[in-house]
């Protein structure tokens, strides 16, 4: 059917000349045919796009499943929990620092963190009272002991559950095998250190700098780091319990020599777990999207046998 309201002859509005009906009908017919042809062409194009997409979606891809679902979920949960534990842990530490020097007028507890805060604040030219400068940036703040303790217990219980699930995921997915040390590890680790030290100079001088061969899922440094994390995680939990229940778990407190021994181990573990994330994040960025994605989706298209990117 014709749609006169869309006919070009009716546009312009002010035209009053008599209309040639035959000519008009002819034009309409032609336009109709043109429209039909255009619609058909569009449909064909759409169909072609769809077919291309279907073909692309049907394209076979080989993937390797890298990380068990439990490992992935708990890996990311650890990011939040570790952050929460450090922010609250340092606020608890503020109440009674374990690393101390003789008291000074501005620092009666002899807390090195307060000194470091002063030093950093004066470096950045911060005016005013800068005693708590570092605590305010690395913890939920001074004078927050009751709040920090409640939150630390919450995160600590979740951390233990999360850690247990992480190990369960390593076992279920068989990922633990890739973390076991090998006899060849020292030599491979040295080769990796040499490689990392040479990356930037070789990139600057545009000389080739091939990645040392990696046999298996991880290189020797990764294996060492990824095995150390759960072990340090277990140690941070044990030293935490030694501090939390020294009377009930007296044997555990003795394992760390004494109460302050447990505090020092707990603090050191925190430093190791926290500082691990820095090279970890840098190397994941350097390694590329596939590596990051594999910790979200589990699979990787970077198969062994294909050259390392």
């Amino acid at each position: 059917m014709s749609r006169p309201e869309r006919s070009p002859s009716r546009r312009g509005g002010g035209r009053v000349a008599p209309i040639d009906m035959d000519n008009e009908r002819e034009t309409q017919k032609k336009e109709q045919e043109q429209r039909r042809a255009a619609a058909a062409a569009r449909a064909a194009r759409r169909e072609a796009t769809r077919a291309a997409r279907r073909a692309r979606e049907a394209q076979p891809v080989r993937v390797a499943d890298k990380h068990d679902g439990l490992v992935r979920v708990t890996h990311w949960a650890h990011v939040a929990l570790l952050l929460g534990l450090i922010l609250t842990g340092l606020a608890i530490y503020w109440a009674a620092p374990v690393f101390r020097h003789a008291p000074t007028p501005g620092n009666p507890r002899g807390d090195y963190f307060i000194d470091a805060g002063h030093a950093l604040a004066s470096l950045f030219g911060v005016p005013g009272d800068t005693r708590y400068w570092l605590y305010e940036r690395t913890s939920v703040g001074p004078y927050q002991l009751a709040n920090a303790l409640r939150l630390h217990w919450l995160f600590a219980y979740l951390y233990m559950v999360c850690g247990a699930l992480y190990v369960a995921g390593l076992v279920r997915g068989g990922g633990w095998r890739a973390l076991m040390p090998r006899a060849s590890d020292p030599a491979e680790a040295l080769a990796m250190i040499r490689y990392y030290l040479g990356v930037v100079p070789h990139a600057l001088s545009r000389k080739p700098w091939p990645h040392p061969p990696v046999v298996g899922k991880y290189n020797a440094l990764q294996r060492a780091a990824y095995l150390t994390m759960p072990l340090v995680g277990a140690l941070v939990v044990l030293s935490g319990w030694a501090m939390h229940k020294p009377a009930t778990l007296g044997w555990l407190e003795r394992l760390f020599v004494n109460y302050d021994g447990a505090r020092i181990v707990h603090f050191t573990c925190m430093a190791i777990l926290g500082s691990f994330t820095i090279p970890h994040v840098i190397l994941v960025i350097a390694d590329g999207w596939d590596t990051f994605r594999s910790m979200v989706t589990g699979w990787s298209v970077r198969l062994k046998g294909t050259p390392h990117a």
């Binding site: 891809v61 990311w76 109440a95 919450l154 939390h244 009377a247 009930t248």
Partner: protein, 307 residues
């Protein structure tokens, strides 16, 4: 040597073989890959990244909600109020937070209570820390006048009476026990101290609490605040702990009678509890059926405080 051949491989060889077998079974397996299609991968990725994003958003929201007020105002002074009202819109109010975090404290206290064993002795030491014991008193040290008229008042007894005992009565009627234990403060410092005094258990046998009572409400009416105004200190102690042989009503520290700063003339020393339960200058003990109030629990700390 035919004898040895008959025995088969030596122990060392067997051990070596066992280690090799264990190492082989722990060895990394060659990577296996599977075939799928781009379409399946795209759909899976979309789902996983949407979940990842939703979880990250939820974690950030809950994290903000859990932050102490001071941290919120230090880190985002401009938008803290706006973010708080946004969180409140999804039910994450300050009141909700307090209720939930106090539930965490109760859970942790329940763990501590479940771990308590009345026969377990707290670690003792050969000698005390030579440094002077920290005075971590929250307020001013009480003036010495109260000591002369000091009495320990007991109520909630099986006899139905109230008792009032002087320090001389306590010292002469009960055996003195000495112990060197660690005092652990909630703040994180600790101190090995030599204590002397009577066992709380002996007082409980001499003046048994009324049947059905489970708690001792312990109080120091002479406590002062920062400005020197009366600020009674009160703690709750479960009777299981009170009956523990290492729960002392101490009269001596480092061989000398308690000083005013350390709670003269009588204080509680319960090394299986945090230091804040070790009430100084004790004046009243009331045995109760319901759990009594606790000074630091009223200020956001846990209540059972078992170490």
């Amino acid at each position: 040597m035919p004898d040895k051949q008959a025995k088969g491989p030596s122990l060392g060889a067997k051990l070596g073989a066992a280690i090799r077998r264990a190492a082989a079974s722990a060895a990394e397996r060659p990577e296996t890959s599977r075939e799928t299609t781009r379409g399946v991968l795209a759909a899976r990725s979309r789902r996983d990244f949407l979940l990842f994003g939703a979880a990250a958003l939820a974690t950030t929201t809950v994290g903000w909600w859990l932050l102490p007020e001071r941290a919120k105002r230090t880190w985002l002074p401009g938008s803290a109020d706006r973010l708080d009202s946004l969180a409140a819109r999804v039910g994450l109010t300050r009141m909700q937070r307090e209720a939930n975090l106090n539930r965490v404290l109760t859970f942790d206290d329940d763990v501590a209570e479940a771990l308590f064993a009345k026969d377990r002795r707290v670690r003792t030491y050969d000698r005390a820390d030579p440094r002077p014991l920290v005075i971590n008193y929250n307020g001013r040290i009480p003036r010495p006048e109260y000591v002369a008229g000091w009495r320990l008042n007991l109520s909630g007894l099986a006899s139905g009476r109230t008792e009032s005992l002087s320090i001389d009565e306590l010292l002469s009627r009960f055996t003195r026990h000495d112990m060197i234990t660690r005092l652990v403060c909630v703040e994180g410092w600790s101190h090995v101290v030599a204590w002397g005094g009577l066992r709380f258990a002996d007082l409980l046998s001499a003046y048994p609490p009324a049947p059905g009572t489970r708690w001792a409400a312990m109080r120091s009416s002479v406590s002062l605040d920062d400005d020197g105004n009366p600020d009674p200190y009160y703690v709750s102690i479960d009777l299981e702990t009170a009956r523990h042989p290492q729960a002392l009503l101490a009269t001596h520290q480092a061989g000398a009678p308690l000083t005013l700063a350390h709670g003269a003339p009588l204080r509680l020393v319960a090394p299986m509890k945090l230091g804040l339960k070790n009430i100084k200058a004790l004046t009243d003990i009331a045995y109760t059926t319901a759990e009594p109030a606790d000074y630091w629990n009223d200020r956001g700390y846990s209540k059972y405080d078992g170490l």
